[in-house]
Protein backbone atom coordinates (compact mmCIF):
# COMPACT_ATOMS: atom_id res chain seq x y z
CA UNK A 1 0.00 0.00 0.00
CA UNK A 2 1.50 3.34 -1.07
CA UNK A 3 0.72 6.54 0.78
CA UNK A 4 -1.77 7.56 -1.91
CA UNK A 5 -3.58 4.24 -1.85
CA UNK A 6 -7.36 4.34 -1.60
CA UNK A 7 -7.45 0.92 0.00
CA UNK A 8 -8.17 0.69 3.73
CA UNK A 9 -7.96 -2.47 5.80
CA UNK A 10 -11.42 -2.19 7.37
CA UNK A 11 -14.52 0.00 7.74
CA UNK A 12 -13.40 1.61 10.97
CA UNK A 13 -10.12 2.83 9.51
CA UNK A 14 -11.80 3.84 6.26
CA UNK A 15 -13.91 6.32 8.23
CA UNK A 16 -11.11 7.63 10.44
CA UNK A 17 -10.54 11.36 10.29
CA UNK A 18 -13.62 12.16 8.20
CA UNK A 19 -16.42 11.95 10.77
CA UNK A 20 -17.61 14.90 12.85
CA UNK A 21 -20.85 15.52 14.69
CA UNK A 22 -23.38 17.33 12.52
CA UNK A 23 -22.09 16.28 9.10
CA UNK A 24 -24.29 15.40 6.13
CA UNK A 25 -24.05 11.90 4.82
CA UNK A 26 -25.31 10.38 1.55
CA UNK A 27 -25.99 6.67 1.77
CA UNK A 28 -26.73 4.23 -1.06
CA UNK A 29 -29.28 1.43 -0.96
CA UNK A 30 -32.93 0.66 -1.60
CA UNK A 31 -34.69 -1.15 1.21
CA UNK A 32 -32.06 -3.56 2.47
CA UNK A 33 -30.60 -4.03 -1.02
CA UNK A 34 -27.21 -2.54 -1.83
CA UNK A 35 -26.84 -0.89 1.58
CA UNK A 36 -23.27 -0.21 2.85
CA UNK A 37 -23.83 -2.25 6.01
CA UNK A 38 -20.17 -2.54 7.06
CA UNK A 39 -19.64 1.22 6.87
CA UNK A 40 -22.90 1.87 8.71
CA UNK A 41 -21.78 -0.49 11.47
CA UNK A 42 -18.50 1.43 11.75
CA UNK A 43 -20.40 4.71 11.82
CA UNK A 44 -22.53 3.27 14.60
CA UNK A 45 -19.43 2.24 16.56
CA UNK A 46 -17.81 5.66 16.04
CA UNK A 47 -20.53 7.33 18.12
CA UNK A 48 -20.71 10.34 15.77
CA UNK A 49 -23.98 12.24 16.30
CA UNK A 50 -26.42 14.80 14.90
CA UNK A 51 -26.08 13.40 11.42
CA UNK A 52 -28.17 14.51 8.48
CA UNK A 53 -28.59 11.40 6.37
CA UNK A 54 -29.70 11.43 2.74
CA UNK A 55 -30.98 7.96 1.89
CA UNK A 56 -34.03 6.69 0.04
CA UNK A 57 -35.09 4.56 3.01
CA UNK A 58 -34.25 4.36 6.70
CA UNK A 59 -33.56 0.65 7.04
CA UNK A 60 -35.59 -1.63 9.27
CA UNK A 61 -35.59 -1.76 13.07
CA UNK A 62 -32.42 -3.80 13.20
CA UNK A 63 -30.76 -3.41 9.81
CA UNK A 64 -29.25 -0.69 7.67
CA UNK A 65 -29.70 2.85 8.94
CA UNK A 66 -32.08 1.48 11.57
CA UNK A 67 -28.95 0.87 13.66
CA UNK A 68 -28.09 4.57 13.71
CA UNK A 69 -31.67 5.54 14.47
CA UNK A 70 -31.78 3.21 17.45
CA UNK A 71 -28.63 4.80 18.85
CA UNK A 72 -30.02 8.31 18.17
CA UNK A 73 -27.10 9.31 15.98
CA UNK A 74 -29.35 10.75 13.26
CA UNK A 75 -30.85 14.22 13.66
CA UNK A 76 -32.45 14.52 10.24
CA UNK A 77 -33.38 12.17 7.39
CA UNK A 78 -33.97 13.18 3.77
CA UNK A 79 -35.82 10.21 2.26
CA UNK A 80 -38.68 9.21 -0.02
CA UNK A 81 -40.10 6.26 1.92
CA UNK A 82 -39.56 5.16 5.51
CA UNK A 83 -42.41 2.70 5.96
CA UNK A 84 -40.52 -0.25 7.38
CA UNK A 85 -39.13 1.19 10.61
CA UNK A 86 -41.06 1.37 13.91
CA UNK A 87 -38.30 3.17 15.84
CA UNK A 88 -38.21 5.79 13.09
CA UNK A 89 -41.94 6.31 13.52
CA UNK A 90 -41.64 6.60 17.28
CA UNK A 91 -38.81 9.18 17.14
CA UNK A 92 -40.55 11.16 14.45
CA UNK A 93 -43.88 11.31 16.26
CA UNK A 94 -42.06 12.28 19.49
CA UNK A 95 -40.39 15.17 17.64
CA UNK A 96 -36.90 13.72 18.19
CA UNK A 97 -36.15 13.28 14.52
CA UNK A 98 -36.44 15.72 11.67
CA UNK A 99 -37.73 14.34 8.39
CA UNK A 100 -37.77 15.78 4.90
CA UNK A 101 -39.70 13.77 2.35
CA UNK A 102 -38.59 14.07 -1.25
CA UNK A 103 -40.24 12.32 -4.17
CA UNK A 104 -37.91 9.44 -5.02
CA UNK A 105 -36.99 10.74 -8.46
CA UNK A 106 -36.45 14.22 -7.11
CA UNK A 107 -34.17 12.80 -4.42
CA UNK A 108 -32.15 10.84 -7.00
CA UNK A 109 -31.89 13.86 -9.28
CA UNK A 110 -30.97 16.24 -6.44
CA UNK A 111 -28.07 13.95 -5.58
CA UNK A 112 -27.10 13.47 -9.22
CA UNK A 113 -27.24 17.26 -9.75
CA UNK A 114 -25.24 17.98 -6.60
CA UNK A 115 -22.51 15.60 -7.70
CA UNK A 116 -22.52 17.11 -11.18
CA UNK A 117 -22.17 20.70 -10.01
CA UNK A 118 -25.73 21.70 -10.85
CA UNK A 119 -27.05 24.08 -8.21
CA UNK A 120 -30.74 23.53 -8.99
CA UNK A 121 -33.19 22.27 -11.60
CA UNK A 122 -36.88 22.59 -12.43
CA UNK A 123 -39.12 19.53 -12.35
CA UNK A 124 -42.82 18.83 -12.80
CA UNK A 125 -42.70 16.29 -9.98
CA UNK A 126 -44.62 17.57 -6.96
CA UNK A 127 -46.08 20.65 -8.66
CA UNK A 128 -49.37 21.55 -6.98
CA UNK A 129 -48.62 19.36 -3.94
CA UNK A 130 -47.18 19.87 -0.43
CA UNK A 131 -43.74 19.25 -1.93
CA UNK A 132 -43.99 22.53 -3.85
CA UNK A 133 -44.63 24.65 -0.76
CA UNK A 134 -42.10 27.44 -0.38
CA UNK A 135 -40.35 26.56 -3.63
CA UNK A 136 -39.82 28.75 -6.66
CA UNK A 137 -42.02 27.76 -9.62
CA UNK A 138 -41.89 28.41 -13.35
CA UNK A 139 -44.66 27.89 -15.88
CA UNK A 140 -43.32 26.72 -19.23
CA UNK A 141 -45.69 25.90 -22.10
CA UNK A 142 -48.56 25.69 -19.65
CA UNK A 143 -46.81 23.19 -17.36
CA UNK A 144 -45.77 24.13 -13.83
CA UNK A 145 -42.27 23.22 -12.71
CA UNK A 146 -40.80 23.56 -9.23
CA UNK A 147 -37.21 24.34 -8.39
CA UNK A 148 -35.27 21.68 -6.49
CA UNK A 149 -31.69 22.16 -5.35
CA UNK A 150 -28.77 19.79 -5.71
CA UNK A 151 -27.53 17.83 -2.71
CA UNK A 152 -23.90 17.41 -1.74
CA UNK A 153 -22.58 15.61 1.31
CA UNK A 154 -19.52 15.70 3.54
CA UNK A 155 -19.29 11.93 3.23
CA UNK A 156 -20.97 9.42 0.92
CA UNK A 157 -21.16 5.74 1.77
CA UNK A 158 -21.78 3.24 -1.03
CA UNK A 159 -21.86 -0.50 -1.52
CA UNK A 160 -20.70 -2.16 -4.75
CA UNK A 161 -20.21 -5.74 -5.91
CA UNK A 162 -16.67 -5.43 -7.18
CA UNK A 163 -14.17 -2.66 -6.98
CA UNK A 164 -10.54 -2.26 -7.89
CA UNK A 165 -7.80 -0.58 -5.91
CA UNK A 166 -8.27 2.59 -8.01
CA UNK A 167 -11.87 2.86 -6.79
CA UNK A 168 -13.57 1.80 -10.00
CA UNK A 169 -16.87 0.14 -9.05
CA UNK A 170 -19.27 -2.39 -10.54
CA UNK A 171 -22.67 -3.01 -8.97
CA UNK A 172 -24.79 -6.11 -9.15
CA UNK A 173 -28.46 -6.22 -10.31
CA UNK A 174 -30.84 -3.94 -8.37
CA UNK A 175 -28.23 -3.45 -5.63
CA UNK A 176 -27.02 -0.60 -7.86
CA UNK A 177 -30.01 1.69 -7.13
CA UNK A 178 -28.88 4.98 -5.50
CA UNK A 179 -25.24 3.95 -5.06
CA UNK A 180 -23.75 5.44 -8.27
CA UNK A 181 -25.59 8.71 -7.64
CA UNK A 182 -24.60 8.94 -3.97
CA UNK A 183 -20.99 8.18 -4.91
CA UNK A 184 -20.78 11.41 -6.93
CA UNK A 185 -22.17 13.67 -4.19
CA UNK A 186 -19.68 13.16 -1.38
CA UNK A 187 -16.68 15.39 -0.66
CA UNK A 188 -15.27 12.08 0.46
CA UNK A 189 -16.83 8.89 -0.84
CA UNK A 190 -16.14 5.59 0.88
CA UNK A 191 -17.01 2.36 -0.91
CA UNK A 192 -17.32 -1.14 0.47
CA UNK A 193 -17.16 -4.03 -1.99
CA UNK A 194 -17.66 -7.77 -1.91
CA UNK A 195 -14.58 -8.36 -3.97
CA UNK A 196 -11.57 -6.06 -4.17
CA UNK A 197 -9.50 -6.66 -7.29
CA UNK A 198 -6.37 -5.32 -8.97
CA UNK A 199 -6.60 -2.76 -11.82
CA UNK A 200 -7.34 -4.53 -15.08
CA UNK A 201 -9.56 -7.18 -13.53
CA UNK A 202 -12.64 -5.07 -14.26
CA UNK A 203 -13.26 -4.32 -17.92
CA UNK A 204 -12.94 -0.54 -18.48
CA UNK A 205 -16.13 -0.55 -20.56
CA UNK A 206 -18.07 -2.16 -17.72
CA UNK A 207 -17.24 0.29 -14.92
CA UNK A 208 -20.40 1.83 -13.41
CA UNK A 209 -18.69 4.31 -11.06
CA UNK A 210 -15.30 5.60 -12.25
CA UNK A 211 -12.70 5.71 -9.50
CA UNK A 212 -12.49 9.51 -9.50
CA UNK A 213 -15.60 9.54 -7.31
CA UNK A 214 -14.25 7.04 -4.80
CA UNK A 215 -11.67 8.18 -2.25
CA UNK A 216 -11.52 5.19 0.05
CA UNK A 217 -12.38 1.57 -0.49
CA UNK A 218 -12.58 -1.56 1.64
CA UNK A 219 -13.20 -5.21 1.04
CA UNK A 220 -16.26 -5.73 3.25
CA UNK A 221 -16.62 -9.48 2.77
CA UNK A 222 -18.03 -11.77 3.98
CA UNK A 223 -21.61 -10.60 3.42
CA UNK A 224 -24.81 -12.12 4.77
CA UNK A 225 -27.37 -10.30 2.66
CA UNK A 226 -30.86 -9.86 3.99
CA UNK A 227 -34.14 -10.17 2.11
CA UNK A 228 -36.94 -7.87 3.23
CA UNK A 229 -39.84 -9.65 1.45
CA UNK A 230 -39.17 -13.15 0.24
CA UNK A 231 -41.53 -13.95 -2.64
CA UNK A 232 -41.17 -17.17 -4.61
CA UNK A 233 -43.11 -19.45 -6.95
CA UNK A 234 -43.39 -23.19 -6.65
CA UNK A 235 -41.36 -25.15 -9.14
CA UNK A 236 -44.27 -27.47 -9.93
CA UNK A 237 -46.66 -24.76 -11.08
CA UNK A 238 -44.97 -24.47 -14.44
CA UNK A 239 -46.46 -20.99 -14.77
CA UNK A 240 -44.48 -18.45 -16.69
CA UNK A 241 -46.76 -15.62 -15.60
CA UNK A 242 -44.78 -12.47 -14.99
CA UNK A 243 -45.33 -11.45 -11.40
CA UNK A 244 -43.55 -8.41 -10.12
Amino acid sequence: MTSSSKVYPDAERALSGILRDGITLCCGGFGLCGVPDKLIAALHASGVRDLTVVSNNAGTDDAGLGLLLKSRQIRKMISSYVGENKEFERQYLAGELELEFNPQGTLAERVRAGGAGIYAFFTKTGAGTLVAEGKETRVVNGETYIMETGIVADVSLVKAWKGDTEGNLVYRKTARNFNPNMATAGSITVAEVEELVEPGALHPDAIHTPGIYVHRIINGSPYHKKIEKRTVRKRMEGSDAVVS
Binding site: L107, E109, G126, G128, T129, A175, K229, A241, V242, S244
Partner: protein
Protein backbone atom coordinates in the same frame (compact mmCIF):
# COMPACT_ATOMS: atom_id res chain seq x y z
CA UNK B 1 -71.73 -8.47 -8.10
CA UNK B 2 -68.85 -6.02 -7.77
CA UNK B 3 -65.59 -6.74 -9.55
CA UNK B 4 -62.94 -8.56 -7.49
CA UNK B 5 -59.36 -7.38 -7.14
CA UNK B 6 -58.45 -9.89 -9.84
CA UNK B 7 -61.20 -8.58 -12.13
CA UNK B 8 -59.98 -5.01 -11.66
CA UNK B 9 -56.40 -6.03 -12.41
CA UNK B 10 -57.55 -7.90 -15.53
CA UNK B 11 -59.49 -4.82 -16.66
CA UNK B 12 -56.42 -2.62 -16.20
CA UNK B 13 -54.38 -5.15 -18.20
CA UNK B 14 -56.70 -4.59 -21.16
CA UNK B 15 -55.29 -1.05 -21.39
CA UNK B 16 -51.85 -2.45 -22.21
CA UNK B 17 -50.61 -2.39 -25.77
CA UNK B 18 -47.94 -4.47 -27.44
CA UNK B 19 -44.51 -2.94 -26.89
CA UNK B 20 -45.53 -0.88 -23.87
CA UNK B 21 -43.07 -0.03 -21.09
CA UNK B 22 -45.13 -0.09 -17.90
CA UNK B 23 -44.74 0.65 -14.21
CA UNK B 24 -47.06 -1.14 -11.79
CA UNK B 25 -47.68 0.14 -8.28
CA UNK B 26 -47.96 -1.95 -5.12
CA UNK B 27 -51.18 -3.87 -4.30
CA UNK B 28 -53.83 -4.54 -6.96
CA UNK B 29 -51.67 -2.90 -9.68
CA UNK B 30 -49.03 -5.60 -9.15
CA UNK B 31 -51.63 -8.24 -10.10
CA UNK B 32 -51.96 -6.65 -13.55
CA UNK B 33 -48.80 -8.54 -14.58
CA UNK B 34 -50.76 -11.82 -14.33
CA UNK B 35 -53.22 -10.71 -17.00
CA UNK B 36 -50.96 -9.56 -19.80
CA UNK B 37 -52.47 -11.08 -22.95
CA UNK B 38 -50.56 -14.08 -24.34
CA UNK B 39 -48.24 -13.03 -27.12
CA UNK B 40 -48.23 -9.39 -26.05
CA UNK B 41 -44.85 -7.96 -25.21
CA UNK B 42 -44.93 -5.64 -22.22
CA UNK B 43 -41.77 -4.57 -20.39
CA UNK B 44 -42.21 -3.87 -16.68
CA UNK B 45 -40.13 -1.14 -15.08
CA UNK B 46 -39.17 -1.03 -11.43
CA UNK B 47 -38.25 2.32 -9.83
CA UNK B 48 -35.27 0.83 -8.03
CA UNK B 49 -33.51 0.40 -11.35
CA UNK B 50 -34.72 -2.45 -13.54
CA UNK B 51 -36.41 -2.91 -16.89
CA UNK B 52 -37.81 -6.33 -17.68
CA UNK B 53 -39.02 -7.67 -14.34
CA UNK B 54 -39.32 -11.45 -14.41
CA UNK B 55 -41.59 -13.68 -12.31
CA UNK B 56 -40.99 -14.44 -8.65
CA UNK B 57 -37.94 -16.69 -8.40
CA UNK B 58 -38.24 -20.41 -7.81
CA UNK B 59 -37.79 -21.39 -4.18
CA UNK B 60 -34.11 -21.47 -3.38
CA UNK B 61 -33.23 -19.06 -6.19
CA UNK B 62 -34.08 -15.84 -4.35
CA UNK B 63 -31.35 -13.24 -4.76
CA UNK B 64 -31.10 -10.44 -2.17
CA UNK B 65 -29.61 -8.23 -4.91
CA UNK B 66 -32.67 -8.65 -7.12
CA UNK B 67 -35.85 -7.03 -5.82
CA UNK B 68 -38.71 -4.93 -7.16
CA UNK B 69 -39.82 -1.53 -5.84
CA UNK B 70 -42.04 -3.34 -3.31
CA UNK B 71 -38.82 -4.96 -1.99
CA UNK B 72 -40.03 -8.41 -3.08
CA UNK B 73 -37.59 -10.87 -4.63
CA UNK B 74 -38.02 -11.15 -8.41
CA UNK B 75 -36.12 -12.77 -11.26
CA UNK B 76 -34.51 -11.38 -14.39
CA UNK B 77 -35.31 -12.04 -18.04
CA UNK B 78 -32.87 -12.43 -20.92
CA UNK B 79 -33.86 -8.88 -21.92
CA UNK B 80 -33.56 -7.26 -18.48
CA UNK B 81 -31.48 -4.15 -17.85
CA UNK B 82 -30.31 -2.54 -14.61
CA UNK B 83 -29.56 1.13 -14.01
CA UNK B 84 -29.22 3.71 -11.24
CA UNK B 85 -32.09 5.44 -9.45
CA UNK B 86 -31.35 8.72 -11.26
CA UNK B 87 -31.57 6.91 -14.62
CA UNK B 88 -34.71 5.13 -13.50
CA UNK B 89 -36.47 8.40 -12.79
CA UNK B 90 -35.09 10.02 -15.93
CA UNK B 91 -37.09 7.32 -17.75
CA UNK B 92 -40.14 8.01 -15.62
CA UNK B 93 -40.02 11.79 -15.51
CA UNK B 94 -38.84 12.08 -19.10
CA UNK B 95 -42.01 10.53 -20.50
CA UNK B 96 -40.45 7.27 -21.69
CA UNK B 97 -42.84 5.02 -19.75
CA UNK B 98 -46.10 4.40 -21.63
CA UNK B 99 -48.38 3.58 -18.73
CA UNK B 100 -48.53 3.33 -14.95
CA UNK B 101 -51.15 1.53 -12.89
CA UNK B 102 -51.45 2.94 -9.38
CA UNK B 103 -53.65 2.63 -6.34
CA UNK B 104 -55.44 5.66 -4.87
CA UNK B 105 -57.06 6.97 -1.73
CA UNK B 106 -58.95 9.67 -3.67
CA UNK B 107 -59.32 10.85 -7.26
CA UNK B 108 -61.00 14.14 -8.17
CA UNK B 109 -63.24 14.82 -11.15
CA UNK B 110 -60.45 16.83 -12.82
CA UNK B 111 -57.98 13.96 -12.45
CA UNK B 112 -56.12 14.97 -9.29
CA UNK B 113 -54.72 12.01 -7.39
CA UNK B 114 -54.18 11.55 -3.64
CA UNK B 115 -52.44 8.33 -2.65
CA UNK B 116 -49.61 9.00 -0.22
CA UNK B 117 -50.62 10.75 2.97
CA UNK B 118 -53.37 10.93 5.55
CA UNK B 119 -52.84 13.91 7.89
CA UNK B 120 -52.60 12.85 11.52
CA UNK B 121 -51.41 9.38 10.62
CA UNK B 122 -47.78 8.32 10.33
CA UNK B 123 -46.67 9.20 6.85
CA UNK B 124 -44.49 6.61 5.19
CA UNK B 125 -43.53 8.82 2.26
CA UNK B 126 -44.51 9.25 -1.35
CA UNK B 127 -41.78 7.01 -2.76
CA UNK B 128 -41.86 7.31 -6.54
CA UNK B 129 -45.58 8.07 -6.91
CA UNK B 130 -45.23 11.83 -7.54
CA UNK B 131 -42.56 11.27 -10.20
CA UNK B 132 -44.65 8.59 -11.91
CA UNK B 133 -47.76 10.72 -12.23
CA UNK B 134 -45.68 13.72 -13.33
CA UNK B 135 -43.98 11.87 -16.17
CA UNK B 136 -45.74 8.70 -17.32
CA UNK B 137 -47.81 9.17 -20.46
CA UNK B 138 -50.97 7.46 -19.23
CA UNK B 139 -52.01 6.89 -15.61
CA UNK B 140 -54.62 4.25 -14.75
CA UNK B 141 -55.92 4.19 -11.19
CA UNK B 142 -57.30 1.00 -9.66
CA UNK B 143 -59.15 1.45 -6.37
CA UNK B 144 -62.21 0.41 -4.38
CA UNK B 145 -65.17 2.62 -5.25
CA UNK B 146 -65.68 3.57 -1.60
CA UNK B 147 -63.43 3.57 1.46
CA UNK B 148 -63.72 1.05 4.29
CA UNK B 149 -66.14 3.49 5.98
CA UNK B 150 -68.26 3.67 2.84
CA UNK B 151 -67.00 7.14 1.86
CA UNK B 152 -66.83 7.77 -1.89
CA UNK B 153 -63.30 8.03 -3.27
CA UNK B 154 -64.05 9.63 -6.67
CA UNK B 155 -65.00 13.16 -5.65
CA UNK B 156 -65.31 16.76 -6.84
CA UNK B 157 -62.05 17.62 -5.02
CA UNK B 158 -59.50 15.54 -3.17
CA UNK B 159 -59.45 16.31 0.53
CA UNK B 160 -56.19 14.47 1.20
CA UNK B 161 -52.81 15.95 0.22
CA UNK B 162 -52.23 15.50 -3.50
CA UNK B 163 -49.78 13.29 -5.32
CA UNK B 164 -50.34 15.21 -8.56
CA UNK B 165 -52.83 17.53 -10.23
CA UNK B 166 -54.75 16.51 -13.38
CA UNK B 167 -52.76 13.31 -13.86
CA UNK B 168 -55.34 10.48 -13.97
CA UNK B 169 -56.61 9.16 -17.32
CA UNK B 170 -58.74 6.23 -16.19
CA UNK B 171 -60.32 5.07 -12.93
CA UNK B 172 -61.15 1.40 -12.46
CA UNK B 173 -63.14 0.58 -9.32
CA UNK B 174 -64.96 -2.54 -8.13
CA UNK B 175 -68.18 -1.01 -9.50
CA UNK B 176 -67.31 0.93 -12.62
CA UNK B 177 -64.80 2.25 -15.12
CA UNK B 178 -64.43 5.97 -15.81
CA UNK B 179 -62.20 7.20 -18.58
CA UNK B 180 -61.47 10.32 -20.58
CA UNK B 181 -60.00 10.97 -23.99
CA UNK B 182 -57.51 13.57 -22.81
CA UNK B 183 -56.59 15.52 -19.71
CA UNK B 184 -58.71 18.40 -20.99
CA UNK B 185 -61.84 16.24 -21.10
CA UNK B 186 -64.19 15.26 -18.27
CA UNK B 187 -64.44 11.64 -17.15
CA UNK B 188 -67.13 9.46 -18.65
CA UNK B 189 -68.72 6.36 -17.12
CA UNK B 190 -67.83 3.68 -19.64
CA UNK B 191 -68.41 0.35 -17.88
CA UNK B 192 -70.55 -0.93 -15.01
CA UNK B 193 -69.89 -4.05 -12.94
CA UNK B 194 -72.47 -6.84 -13.25
CA UNK B 195 -75.36 -6.44 -10.83
CA UNK B 196 -74.67 -2.73 -10.43
CA UNK B 197 -76.82 0.02 -11.91
CA UNK B 198 -75.94 3.43 -13.27
CA UNK B 199 -78.15 4.85 -10.52
CA UNK B 200 -76.20 3.09 -7.79
CA UNK B 201 -72.94 4.40 -9.22
CA UNK B 202 -74.38 7.90 -9.39
CA UNK B 203 -75.39 7.70 -5.73
CA UNK B 204 -71.89 6.58 -4.70
CA UNK B 205 -69.98 9.04 -6.89
CA UNK B 206 -70.02 12.72 -5.93
CA UNK B 207 -67.54 13.52 -8.73
CA UNK B 208 -69.03 15.02 -11.86
CA UNK B 209 -68.83 12.65 -14.83
CA UNK B 210 -70.60 12.16 -18.12
CA UNK B 211 -73.13 9.37 -17.86
Amino acid sequence: MPWSREDMAARAARELKDGFYVNLGIGIPTLVANYIAPGMKVVLQSENGMLGIGPFPYEGEEDPDLINAGKETVSELASSAYFSSADSFAMIRGGHIDMAVLGAMEVSENGDLANWMVPGKMVKGMGGAMDLVAGVKRVVVVMEHTSKNGEPKFKPHCELPLTGTNVVDMVITDLAVFSRASRKDPFKLTEIAPGTTAGEIRSKTPAHYLG
